[in-house]
């Protein structure tokens, strides 16, 4: 028995619809119409008409303001309200141009809606719906046409054509891989190396001056780049995106990680600035706790313990750049980062 609870037979399985006892209530039909003020009072009608006309009028004023603002309230030329070219000229220009346009369009809308609400018919109309599916004849005719077409094309009788057609249509989309592959180079070993080389000086980011170990005060932080990395370097931004490093100086007595301290110089430790989560710059340093915080997703790294992750979504410690001091007392790298910097990826631990 494949029957609905209400006794009917659905096309698809058993339905959970509960039967309506006594057939349910009858629909009482549309309630009597209540007239609006403007339908019964000619004065109200006249008033509504005037309001609509006035609003269209206001819109014209808005258009005039908008056009005028292009000549007399401009950001870099004439400006009635502020000194030419000043920030306040820009502010006034944006405000007056915007207000003009806002008035111009808003009041067209307000007028149209008010017109519709007060003066156009408000008696609800009823339209019948029709089932979307075609009549039985239409459906039969459709099936007939399709069957006939399939017959005419001989799809059933010519398996060779059908099979080869399917093969061709399946093969063609694979072609898209060829142009797709030209969108960029293969990763190669690019993600495994940065610009840092042994002997490169650590330079302050942006002014590019090298840093003496003696300049690094206890608990201070420096954002550094390789000294040789300049605007003239090929792929300047890409190299910056990998080479960005921070140095901090901690009291070596606080250090909990011998290896990390050994890679530093008298408590000066250099870590990659690129978060090992998704690659934001880890820019916030809490001097009291010696924690570095990534502002994007709040991964927190403990500088005293080899930049180990102590909170947040990152997993790996920030890679540490091994450093020493050269003959002139400047901080230099003794090599590249020992492992890839930035977000983890599938083949990260493969030798490249």
């Amino acid at each position: 028995m494949n029957q609905n609870l209400d006794g009917s037979f659905p096309a698809r399985g058993v339905s959970a619809i509960a039967p309506k006892e006594d057939g349910g209530f009858p629909n009482p039909g549309l309630p009597p119409h209540v007239h609006r003020q403007a339908d019964i009072d000619p004065k109200a009608e006249k008033r509504a008409e005037r309001i609509v006309a006035a609003m269209f009028g206001i819109s014209v004023i808005g258009t005039a303001i908008f056009i005028a603002s292009y000549f007399v309230v401009t950001p870099t030329g004439t400006n009635l309200f502020a000194e030419t070219g000043s920030t306040s000229a820009l502010w006034w220009s944006n405000l007056i141009t915007g207000l003009g346009l806002a008035i111009a369009v808003f009041f067209i809308g307000a007028a149209a809606v008010h017109w519709a609400k007060t003066l156009m018919p408000d008696e609800e109309m009823v339209e019948e719906r029709h089932e979307l599916k075609g009549s039985e004849e239409t459906r039969a005719a459709a099936v007939g046409i399709l069957t006939e077409g399939i017959q005419e094309a001989g799809i059933g009788r010519r398996p060779l054509i059908v099979t080869s057609m399917v093969a061709a249509l399946v093969a063609l989309p694979i072609a898209i891989l060829a142009p797709l592959s030209t969108l960029g180079p293969l990763p190669g070993n690019k993600l495994h190396h940065t610009f840092w080389r042994a002997g490169m000086r650590l330079a302050r980011d942006h002014d590019g001056t090298p840093i003496r170990a003696a300049d690094v005060a206890m608990n201070s932080i420096f954002h550094v780049m390789p000294e040789e990395l300049t605007h003239e370097t090929p792929h300047y931004l890409e190299e910056r995106a990998k080479a960005a490093t921070v140095i901090v100086r901690i009291d070596p007595a606080l250090g909990q990680n011998e290896e990390s301290l050994a890679n530093g110089y008298e408590g000066i430790l250099a870590f990659s600035k690129i978060c090992t989560h998704v690659g934001c710059p880890v820019a916030l340093y809490e001097q009291q706790t010696h924690h570095m915080l990534c502002p994007c997703h709040q991964s927190t790294f403990d500088v005293t313990d080899g930049a180990k992750v102590i909170f947040g979504p990152a997993h790996r410690p920030l890679p540490q750049l091994p450093i020493e001091v050269d003959a002139e007392g400047y901080l230099v790298a003794t090599g590249d980062f020992p492992e890839p910097i930035g977000p983890s990826f599938w083949e990260m631990y493969k030798e490249k």
Binding site: N2, P10, S15, A16, I17, A18, G24, F25, N27, P28, G29, L30, Y70, P75, T76, G77, L90, S93, N94, T97, A104, F107, A110, A112, V113, W115, A116, K117, M120, E124, M125, E127, R129, L132, L180, L183, G184, P187, L191, H223, H231, H235, A241, H277, V278, G279, C280, P281, P295, S299, V309, G312, P313, H315, R316, S344, F345, W346, E347, Y349
Partner: protein
């Protein structure tokens, strides 16, 4: 076509006659070439029902039109290039800085071009409004069951529009090449690299090499101004064609059935109302843009891989995708020397699951109910407690993810520990949906119970009568048949027993959906209640002499 229509609305007199004639000539010309008369006959008197909640879809459509208008303006001046130039515009703080042409042209639009800042802000505000409208519209459809047969496919079209809207937004705010948009792309790069096996290859292909490269902005530009808007336009066309084919749903009311549609005609009422509403939305977005700054790229500065400021949030509709990344613990494994980043893959799975559930919900519910009738009368959300509960639970997960993406801002404003907040959200994402589902379901059932009482006993009037025997009786005012209809018209479902073509899984599903149900009032029950009320009224009338005024009212009289 339009001229023919005009003739209907003009006044009387000779002028009218001339207009009619002109209209007839123009209409005839068009009709002979495009069959205008047939179109007018088909469309002009299409009936659309009136309800404020039907406007959200319109808001989405109109803000999309505003996006097209303002976006076209911006393309005339924006240069989608990452070539480095030295900024020499009027904004002093950045003079001399090396910036990309994309950034420099955005600065030009903002600071030097007349009306440029206004159109840029309108474009950005309209995008935010577009996404708000889509979400609210989508949940209006969800909570009222408008996705039921025959509208399942249109639900999927709408769902695709929501996803495309997010893509359009993300590719758009990445274009100015400022610090915020660059870091957004940086996150995309990191996420792609987390995909097993092909991650680094995908990242290289997208960026044309290593991040950031010089290809990404021209590429995003093409996606943003051609591919995505074309797809959105096409889907909007399908969405609207299906809307016309299905005719709009209406809320339950006297005279409204699954076989009719009650409302106002497209011409003239909806031409004026909906057309006017476009201008209202346009006006309000313009007003916001004239007075409220958005995406002030000159404050963030040009993109450089090194600096970032705290409080880096994506636009609101992308927040939820960032929240999952923040809430995940740092789970990452190495298997046979290969890295599996669960801290990324689990959020991916959660996002995919949330979206897939939403997309497929109409089919899930149809499978549970087995209801294959066409539905054109909407459900009142309290009549479908489990669906409403599921919707609220979904929204709660979405909101917790979005709040998670603002944990740094909340921590700062409320002076809370960011770690505590993160833990609160980590726990909340499991607890809140269950709790809110249960509360919502209970509230819906209570509302049903209360409506049932109102149908049977009428509205309370707060007038209590004491009979001679000391009994206290409240006077109830019975509902009129129109008001009553809204409360008794709905369908009701029951759990099914397994067997006889019902799988045990489906039996369990129907039990989950319909186990707790308030039986709707039947005509017999109402008759009995009326009889009882009749007796009571008799007693009350005896005590009051038919005068229901309270003593104070009588004294005043």
């Amino acid at each position: 076509m339009t001229t023919t229509s005009d003739s209907r609305t003009t006044g009387t007199g000779e002028k009218n006659g001339r207009m009619m004639k002109l209209g007839a000539v123009g209409g005839d010309w068009l009709d002979q070439r495009v069959g205008g008369a047939g179109l007018v006959k088909f469309f002009a008197r299409k009936i659309f029902p009136d309800h404020w909640s039907f406007m959200f879809g319109e808001v989405a459509l109109y803000s999309f039109v505003i996006l097209l208008i303002s976006g076209t303006f911006l393309t005339m001046f924006f240069v989608p290039s990452m070539d480095e130039v030295v900024y020499d515009g009027p904004y002093e703080a950045l003079q001399g800085a090396e910036v990309s042409r994309a950034f420099a042209s955005t600065m030009y639009i903002s600071f030097e071009l007349r009306g440029g800042l206004l159109f840029r802000q309108m474009h950005h505000w309209a995008a935010l409004v577009f996404m708000v409208a889509i979400f609210v519209h989508m949940f209006r459809v969800f909570f009222t069951g408008a996705f039921r047969k025959p509208r399942e496919l249109n639900w999927l079209v709408g769902f695709s529009l929501m996803v495309l809207g997010m893509v359009a937004g993300f590719t758009g705010y990445s274009l100015p090449d400022d610090v915020l948009s660059g870091n957004g792309l940086r996150v995309i790069d990191g996420l792609m690299k987390a995909i097993p096996i092909i991650g680094t290859y995908l990242s290289m292909l997208l960026f044309g090499g290593e991040f950031p490269g010089t290809d990404i902005i021209p590429r995003l530009f093409t996606i943003h101004i051609l591919l995505v808007p074309a797809a959105i336009l096409g889907l909007i066309a399908i969405h609207l064609v299906m809307l016309v084919a299905h005719k709009h749903t209406h809320y339950p009311g006297p005279g409204r059935t699954d076989r009719n549609v009650v409302g106002f005609p497209l011409f003239p009422v909806y031409t004026a109302k909906a057309g006017g509403f476009f201008f209202l939305v346009f006006g309000i977005i313009t007003l916001i843009s004239a007075t409220t700054a958005i995406n002030a790229i000159w404050v963030y500065g040009p993109y450089d891989p090194s600096p970032v400021s705290a409080g880096s949030q994506p636009d609101w509709y992308m927040l939820w995708t960032d929240g999952g990344l923040r809430l995940m613990p740092g789970w990452e494994f190495t298997v046979f020397g290969y890295v599996i980043s669960l801290n990324m893959l689990i959020p991916f799975a959660v996002y995919g699951g949330l979206l897939a559930f939403l997309a497929l919900y109409p089919f899930l519910e149809a499978w549970v109910t087995g209801d294959d009738r066409e539905h054109h009368v909407l459900d009142l959300p309290y009549n479908t407690p489990v669906r409403t509960g599921i919707g609220v639970a979904w929204i709660s997960v979405y909101l917790i993810l979005a709040l998670g993406a603002t944990n740094d801002l909340i921590a700062l404003k409320l002076q809370l520990s960011i770690n505590d907040l993160t833990w609160l959200f980590r726990i909340g994402i499991f607890v809140a949906p269950v709790l809110l589902f249960w509360i919502t379901k209970r509230v819906c059932l209570s509302l049903q119970r209360q409506k049932r009482n109102t149908v049977l006993h009428g509205e309370e009037t707060s007038r209590v009568v004491r009979t001679e025997s000391g009994e206290m009786l409240e006077i109830h005012e019975p509902l009129n048949e129109y008001d009553r209809w809204v409360l008794v018209q709905h369908d009701d479902y029951r759990p099914l027993k397994a067997g006889n073509g019902v799988s045990s899984l489906r039996a369990k599903a129907t039990s989950f959906f319909f186990k707790d149900r308030i039986e709707p009032v039947t005509p017999t029950e109402l008759r009995e209640a009326m009889e009882h009320a009749g007796h009571e009224k008799h007693v009350i009338d005896e005590a009051t002499g038919g005068d229901y005024r309270i003593p104070a009212e009588k004294a005043h009289h």
